[in-house]
């Protein structure tokens, strides 16, 4: 196994392009190293991206935030400006694992690990986040939901990696929230996760909304039909009921050791309504 710690993005893409089938980017390593220790596979090449300048920075741009691919989730929580603008994304990132894990893990790693239960991903999808990809043939930017393709699979091509996550500014009267269901109080994997982002019209009704569901399908579900049920409403009970019902309907979970199909379908609706209420309140205070 080869371990490399290059200093530039170009070196990363070159290494990944020339590496064997089992070549991996190493960000926090909280998925990768655990899997290697469990003998899931033997790696040919590990490319550590933490030595690249700027890769560990959160940058405020004219129209949003850029979160470098090596930024640990703990740093997101410590960024007051980001936490104010995107509380839901930050709370999702700060649900991952424990204090120790958050000192290492990244939202890019969470996305590229392509687990259906990844916590930060529904929050990012609801936020309209973009992934900026660097590759041997240059750069491209895609919505984050285009990255995961199913458990453990991504749309990244040979030699490509994510250099940053871009969070566009949501505009005034906006709020987001993320809730997950776990059987314990912490150190658990989401059985269901829901991210909601809302922007209100001046009259307080919902002007736009995005809803994303985690752990209820092979990859994150952007539930556009669910979002539509609350647009134009003030999130009264019928709107919440409709939101919950559509979220349950569009979910395609499996039954496994973590939960049954019925349970997941039911709870995804419950959490969607609860997350929407939090986002609505935050938008109202914005």
């Amino acid at each position: 196994m080869r371990y490399e710690r290059p200093a530039t993005i170009e070196d990363v893409t070159a290494l990944l392009a020339s590496g064997g089938e089992k070549s991996f980017v190493l960000a926090g390593g909280t998925d990768l190293l655990v899997r290697m220790k469990n003998d899931a596979f033997e790696a040919d090449l590990i490319v550590d991206i933490k030595a690249i300048e700027g890769m560990s920075d959160v940058t405020r741009t004219a129209d949003g935030f850029e979160i470098g691919a090596a930024v640990p989730c703990a740093a997101l929580g410590e960024n007051a400006e980001l936490s104010r603008v995107w509380p839901g994304v930050v709370e999702a990132a700060n649900l991952i694992g424990s204090t120790q894990i958050q000192g290492r893990c990244t939202i890019s790693g969470n996305l590229c690990n392509a687990s259906p239960a990844a916590d930060s991903v529904p929050a990012m999808v609801a936020a309209g986040a973009l992934a900026r990809i660097a590759g041997p043939d240059g750069r491209r930017t895609v919505p984050v939901q285009d990255i995961p393709q199913g458990p453990g699979k991504t749309s990244l091509r040979k030699g490509e990696f994510i250099e940053a996550i871009v969070l566009p500014d949501p505009g005034p009267r906006s709020g987001d929230a993320y809730l997950r269901f776990i059987p314990r109080t912490e150190m658990d994997i989401a059985v269901v996760g829901v991210g909601v982002q809302l922007t209100l019209a001046e009259d307080g009704s919902i002007a736009s909304a995005r809803v994303a569901l985690g752990a209820v399908g092979p990859k994150v579900i952007e539930a556009t039909e669910a979002a539509e049920t609350i647009i134009g409403t003030r999130l009264d009970q019928p709107a919440l009921d409709a939101l919950a019902a559509v979220c349950s309907e569009v979910s395609t979970p499996i039954a496994d050791k973590r939960g049954t199909v019925d349970f997941r379908k039911q709870v995804v609706g419950v959490l969607a309504a609860r997350a929407a209420k939090i986002a609505y309140q935050r938008a109202g205070e914005d």
Binding site: D39, F181, P183, R184, T185, E186, M187, D188, I189, V191, D256, K257, R258, G259, T260, D262, F263, Q266, V267, V270, L271
Partner: protein, 742 residues
Amino acid sequence: MSLDTTYQGRNFRSVGTRPLRPDGVDKVTGRARYGADFNMPGQLVARILRSPHAHARIVRIDTSRAEALKGVKAVVTAADLPDLTEGDQGLFNTLENCMARTEVLYDGHAVAAVAAIDARVAKQALKLIEVEYEVLPHVTDVDMAARPDAPKANGTAPNIAKQTEFGHGDVDAGFARADVIVERSFLTEQTHQGYIEPHACVASCNSDGTAEMWVCTQGHFVYRQTCASLLGLDVSKLRVTSSEIGGGFGGKTHVWAEPVALALSRKAGRPVKLVMSREEVFRASGPTSATSIDVKIGATKDGRITAATAHLRYSNGPYADGWAEMGAMTSFACYDLENVKTVGSEILVNRPKVAAYRAPSAPMAAFAVESAVDELAQKLGIDPVEFRIQNAASEGTRSSYGPVYGPIGIGPTLEAAKAHDHMKAPLGPNQGRGMACGFWFNFGGQTCTDLNINADGTVTLAVGTVDVGGSRASLSLIAAEELGIDYKDVKAVVADTATLGYNDMTDGSRGTFSSSMATISAARNAIEVMRQRAALIWDIPVEDIDWEDGHAVARGENYGNLPPLSVADIAAEAGTTGGPIAGHSEIVADGAGVSFATHICDVEVDPETGSTRIKRYTVIQDAGKAVHPSYVEGQYQGGAAQGIGWALNEEYVYGEDGRLQNPGFLDYRIPVCSDLPMIDTQILEIPNPNHPYGVRGVGETSIVPPLAAIANAISNAVGVRMTHIPMSPPRILAALDREKAG
């Protein structure tokens, strides 16, 4: 000198205080040596190849490619562990469980093992071992296995392997007299002890036919006995040293990989270190039974139970042991019943061989019985605590499993519960309160202890019961108490098998009970020697010397001006008065007093997700005498914490293929700190009449009531009777939906 073990009552000076434990600093600084911390020069690393099938015939094993790999020093299969068990079925089961012989009987059953120069080579070697299996039908579910058409779990043995019965009176007549009868069936899923430290050992077989082993165990003498028998060694030739232990809870009372490590070392001629991974711990060691229990209880309108029955089916893994039998014995032990009958059925399944887990088998039986008792009280409109008080066993009651009780704590723990603040605290929305009782036998057994008086008058206490919960501190307190010296002048160690006589293992809550009895006896013997030495020093008759407050005191006017001799004074003269001073004790500690507890629990259930939080929890238990109250409280809290995990989330999940789906702490969910409230404790002290200080075992009973207490609390919170443990969110939500659907 033989020990008078009757309770004498006394004003304790050391017992009942809370000094720091002697092993504490090492543990919090990381210096304590656990199983995996032991290393020897030239040691090899062992890895075990395990069955991917729940049940299969081993057609062929070819280890030649693994043996040829550079760095591999030994490969063993069942052929290297010949059957020396001479018809002892229990021992044969142990042997076969350590290494499959003709069939693999569960997912994770060992089939071969390698010892190599490092872990990488050992892992590579496992991949080179070829095993051809003929897959056989399997059964993992306890109720499925009990059906007549079920596949047989182990050879031709019937899956309902054994049946036992307990009780007295005429239950039919009793039910005929009942005004109200509750009859229900209950299920509990299989759980693991969940100790944090995986099994670990270093085994070293020498060319002269002797062997040594350093191992994490609850009973090194028992491990020595078992390993010597399985490997054909004289007991004297195998020396076993126990490490510090990162939890056992019964799971380290049985050998798993230790005989394999010895066989590898014997073949390789080098020390071999074997450490199980967490996945191996889950797949191949431990667990307790899954159960299916039918309970029926009848009572008169005024709240007197007239009859009670239970049929308990316990999964045993592939071998018949006595797990249902213990469930059948304990189920109604809290009550004074005229007519009672319990039947225990041992059920064979293709899951790991069941091991003891803290008050083994009692929590599931208590769940079923205490749930039914609660429901009966509700139907009768009687307060559940009152109803239990009315029917509680007391001194002189003939227990449901046979013996007649002496003074016992069930009534007092119930009265304490009734009077407790917790019972009166207001409940919020979606909250419910539950309570339940529990019983455990406790055990005494063979015990041997040495108490050495050192040259400076300090004391070294060598005990043979592994310290799983602070017993070195407790036994030091006992020695200090009996000798009349300070706790700080006593140092207790756990001696290895070559330096002390045989000791049963630390199980059955016996560690402090039995070793304290032996320590008192050893101390009294040492005092006897010190009186004789004082007689020589003073040149007066020994009959004229008393032992008071750690000193030899000359009695009577004649000697009034002789200053008392301290232990140090006497020890200083040992060389001229007859040599080293010590007290020894070899006993069978009889009369372990039975133990009872009552638990109270408040829960809050989210009716939309089925999620339960424990809001408040109180443990009330009889300790006989709490030698070190902090560690008694620790036992109470620990048992409750494990019970909470069992009640809410822990379970073995098997797939259709008979393979364990969740062999890790991510999906086998023991509670994390934030899942638990501070667990309040109340220690009652009803002296055990058979122990000089009144001590009873305290380690196990605390895990007996939680399943039922929490089930009763949840049932009260949601208004639906919960009958399936764990009460995980999907199960609670499904139960609520069923109720809504009518």
